[in-house]
């Protein structure tokens, strides 16, 4: 039940409630990549940034293609709306490494190049092992063939 309910909350952009349901589901089914992919987005919206980074890294190691191949319209991915809101709030003057990292995570769903830029900017401000690892995974990816994925 938690997956279906989580899906409805996610579609309704109620990330707080979606996060609760998805966490329950993931505890029972840690192999479910789709839930993890959506949970990352929920964490970015509920302020659980470290968890967002951890889950992103976990899924990027497991299947980066699955993470990054998202059709914004077809899959009803909220990343574009969220990115727009963040950029509007910061008036593009983002100065802290964490925000750059989160932006990198959100861009990764549909534009790996933009994501790469944000992760790099994050590292320019502050060294972070996890962000370095993410960059290295992206670098590896750009030398291997693409595969499909969805949200």
């Amino acid at each position: 039940m938690c997956e279906m309910l989580g899906n409805q909350y996610f579609l309704a952009r109620n990330f707080t409630e979606a996060e609760k349901e998805y966490e329950k589901c993931l505890a029972e089914h840690p192999e479910n990549k789709l839930i993890r992919k959506k949970l990352i987005i929920c964490h970015t919206q509920t302020g659980k940034f470290n968890q967002a980074i951890n889950e992103f890294l976990y899924l990027a190691r497991e299947d980066l293609d699955f993470l990054t191949h998202t059709d914004i319209v077809e899959d009803d991915c909220p990343c574009a709306e969220i990115i727009y809101e963040i950029e509007k709030d910061f008036l593009l003057n983002i100065e802290d490494s964490l925000t750059f990292t989160i932006m990198g995570i959100l861009w990764a769903y549909c534009d790996l190049d933009r994501a790469y830029e944000y992760f790099k900017k994050s590292l320019e401000i502050k060294k972070d092992e996890k962000v370095e690892k993410i960059l290295s995974l992206i670098n590896e990816k750009t030398t291997t063939p693409n595969q499909g994925g969805n949200l």
């Binding site: 039940m1 279906m4 309910l5 899906n7 409805q8 909350y9 579609l11 309704a12 009803d76």
Partner: protein, 442 residues
């Protein structure tokens, strides 16, 4: 007999209600012909789409009915919502929603059946416009006082106890209270306490958990939980078994209760409107209704007078029902003859407004012309009213000057009561009442 998928599709395509099913990602995987007609999209255009992108209803973000069914483990019935058609038009619908489960009792999707209620909404609006107060007709002083009271209490969540004989309109008064309150956009749940056997009433009101009793195959939310944040109308509250009344009292006082078979205390915020046609004093004396419960419910008492005590409302009610039935039955009946109105005015109406409505509907269905005649009224009403024969228009006695004045005016207008009433400056039903009181007629 196993029915093939193709046959199932044919069956679903043949019904007038729109039917849509979604998978657990809320993508549409079935959309019948009626749904196509109502929403304006062909099924090929919507299969695989998220339902929220097809229906474009605010409900999808706030109160998705499938999500409600999922959380409550109870199907949703007769839920009203607005959706947007393909051409951008807002369509009011009434829907039922349920969750689809697999053999392991895991949800796999949902189903919504719905119908377009635009026509019904037009009728409702037209009727409401023609009424005096939220769909209620009442020009008598007593009814006006009730409307004023409802206006005064509209910002309050205090419990209301509506008393009145059967058929006086307790439910419509409850509806008016809810519509004018601050909870008008919140859930509004109605329960008639008397229809449930005592052993099922607790489950109905407070819910139950799986295994609480023989047929309790899954957890179920009760009416109090479904009404959380909103209003609960308890009709025939005095019929509640005595042993259940303390539970109701507790919810009213503290907002807490337990589902049947569970020890977890739940809290709700529900405004209660109760109604009874019992004589409350008798019920208290007989010990059928607890005094503490009565005082808790009776914070705001409303007593609806029987129809016979407000004769000035009779003719407006008759005309209101004629207007309503002319829309419902699409019949051009717009008036009622004086003789019919006389009969209706002379009847006692033990069944009150409900009986009057039934009588008008009966006459409506039977009438062919554009006017309701006395002959078309129900026989039991016609037979109970004696012939309208004046005792004597030359009756001479030392009676009140009023009697003489009325007789003179009636005489002048050849006993046409409508014209006589107009000259006297009173309503027809008031004239009728005075004629009976002054023994001008039996």
């Amino acid at each position: 007999m196993k029915i093939s998928d193709k046959l199932k599709d044919h069956i679903l395509d043949s019904i007038a209600e729109g039917v849509m099913t979604v998978d657990k990602n809320f993508r549409i995987h079935f959309f019948n012909r009626a749904a196509e007609r109502i929403i304006g999209y062909k099924r090929e255009e919507v299969i695989g789409q998220f339902c929220k992108n097809v229906f474009k209803s605010g409900l999808c973000y706030v109160d998705c009915p499938i999500s409600t069914a999922l959380k409550s483990r109870k199907n949703v019935f007769d839920f009203e919502a607005n959706v947007e058609s393909r051409n951008g038009k807002t369509i009011p619908i009434k829907l039922n929603a349920a969750v689809l489960y697999n053999d392991d009792n895991m949800p796999t999707g949902g189903i919504i059946s719905f119908r377009d209620i635009s026509e019904l909404e037009k009728i409702k609006k037209s009727i409401e416009k023609a009424s005096d107060y939220h769909g209620i007709i009442g020009r008598s002083k007593k009814m006006r006082e009730i409307f004023d009271l409802i206006e005064e209490i509209k910002d309050s969540d205090a419990s209301v106890l509506i008393q009145g004989e059967s058929g006086t309109g307790k439910e419509v008064i409850a509806d008016a209270i809810q519509k004018s309150s601050g909870r008008s956009n919140k859930p509004y749940i109605k329960v008639n306490v008397s229809v449930f056997p005592p052993h099922l009433l607790a489950s109905e009101l407070f819910g139950h958990v799986k295994g609480a009793f023989t047929d309790a195959v899954r957890d179920r939310a009760g009416r109090f939980e479904l009404a959380d944040g909103g209003t609960l109308f308890l009709d025939e509250v005095a019929e509640m078994p005595l042993q259940m009344q303390p539970q109701l009292l507790r919810v009213l006082q503290e907002g807490t209760f337990e589902r049947v078979g569970e020890s977890v205390t739940r809290k709700v915020d529900v405004r209660v409107i109760a109604a009874t046609n019992r004589n409350v004093e008798e019920a208290l004396k007989q010990g059928v209704l607890r005094e503490d419960l009565y005082y808790r419910l009776n914070v705001i008492p409303i007593t609806i007078p029987p129809l016979r005590e407000r004769p000035e409302d009779l003719e407006p009610l008759v005309r209101f029902f004629i207007r309503r039935f002319s829309i419902t039955y699409k019949k051009e009946i717009t008036d009622i003859e004086d003789a019919a109105l006389d009969i209706l005015s002379g009847y006692d109406w033990p069944g009150n407004v409900r009986e009057l409505e039934n009588a008008i509907e009966y006459a409506f269905v039977r009438s062919n012309g554009n006017i309701i005649t006395a002959r078309k009224l129900p026989a039991q009403i016609r037979e109970k009213i004696s012939a309208n024969i004046p005792v004597s228009k030359y009756y001479s006695c030392d009676d009140e000057p009023e009697r003489k004045e009325i007789l003179d005016v009636l005489d002048k207008h050849k006993w046409n009561k409508t014209r006589a009433a107009q000259e006297l400056g009173i309503g027809r039903t008031t004239l009728w009442r005075k004629m009976r009181k002054l023994k001008i007629i039996d």
